[in-house]
Point group: C2
Chain length 216, copies 2
């Protein structure tokens, strides 16, 4: 058991590799496209992470021994290995599911929430709901805290600090409204098919279109 990497990166990498195998460089771009708004990772973060996921057996180097079965014949699969393509192992899939099944603090704090939401498509419906509600509660606590602090120190705040708090508050309120909509929508579609069980596994309505990666 090496160092336990338990951050955003691990989850994001596993999640992306679940879609399709990839090499590091491409992974990084997809990563930053996926998380775009909140976060960006450099190679200095990614490669050590890959190294450790490899050591833990959660991912593996893909060695394509079989002849054809090329999904994308557009790019010539290099005979020599300058690229190292990684794929998710069975253990990796398990680990991914474990991570996506957490509905505790890690899942509703700022960073964790973003990634997990991005992979809601792989997450069980009841967990989705729990995470959304957990985050909403968390944000409401934060609102209470800030409002209390503002009320307490009302007089001696200069206009900039006040403006900062006003804007921050509005941002959080906005996210709460967003969450409310999402929760409502989840509840609706959860009860939709009249069945009492919300179905065990996630249903893939992922249509099998070929993945042509229009690189920038």
């Amino acid at each position: 058991m090496g160092g336990h990497r338990s951050g955003v990166l691990e989850l994001a990498v596993l999640g992306l590799l679940h879609e399709t195998p990839m090499h590091g460089y491409e992974l990084r771009k997809r990563l930053n496209a996926l998380l775009g708004a909140f976060r960006a990772f450099g190679y200095g973060s990614l490669y050590p992470c890959l190294k450790e996921l490899l050591a833990q057996g959660l991912i593996a180097e893909e060695s394509p021994p079989g002849p054809a079965a090329g999904t994308a014949p557009a790019k010539p699969l290099a005979g020599r290995r300058s690229k190292i393509v990684y794929r998710l192992t069975a253990e990796g899939k398990e680990r991914l599911q474990d991570l996506l099944s957490e509905s505790g603090p890690a899942a509703w704090e700022d960073d964790g929430f973003g990634v997990r939401f991005a992979f809601f498509g792989l997450t069980r419906a009841d967990i989705r709901l729990r995470i959304l509600e957990g985050r909403r509660t968390r944000l409401e606590e934060r609102l209470d805290g800030v409002r209390a602090a503002m009320a307490r120190t009302r007089e001696r705040l200069d206009s900039y600090t006040l403006e900062l708090h006003r804007h921050g508050l509005e941002s959080v309120e906005r996210e709460v409204r967003w969450l409310n909509e999402l929760i409502a929508s989840e509840r609706e579609s959860g009860q939709d098919p009249a069945g009492p069980r919300p179905a065990g596994g996630p249903q893939h309505q992922h249509d099998p279109q070929q993945d042509h990666i229009t690189e920038e």
Copy 2:
């Protein structure tokens, strides 16, 4: 020269101690009230920071040899020292001004921006403007990036990822609008008094409507 502490904490501590001397415990509360929305620090972060600022001579333990001059007689100022009250030294003030005069990346990235904005009252008017504009530019770059990524990968995004990006984009757009207002307001009040120098302190023109927050 010891380790260079150059993060959010140092600036926030120096900024708060500029207002009035304080001891650690209180400082931490004011800190989290000030930054409320974005960030929270624990004692495990604060005390080591104080220790080092002390070592660098930027702050000093306040030994009140003079008799009266108590600002708040409500609490009995303890005779024995269970509290350690810190004050800003002259060097500390200088360092604070240096930090608040930066208008580079450190000042417009997420974390740095928040703290600096909170202390805009201590910041020169031209620097304020540069920081606001720098941040706006930064956010616009981010918008471009995300929009490009969305356009590139349009088809094969599941609805959750899409929704995440949509919401992230709106948040950033909202902040850009906020910055636009702030910049306009800065420009206006900067050129207002017809004098070439835009005056030292910020004036409060915040209209005094009472802020009742209409929750849903």
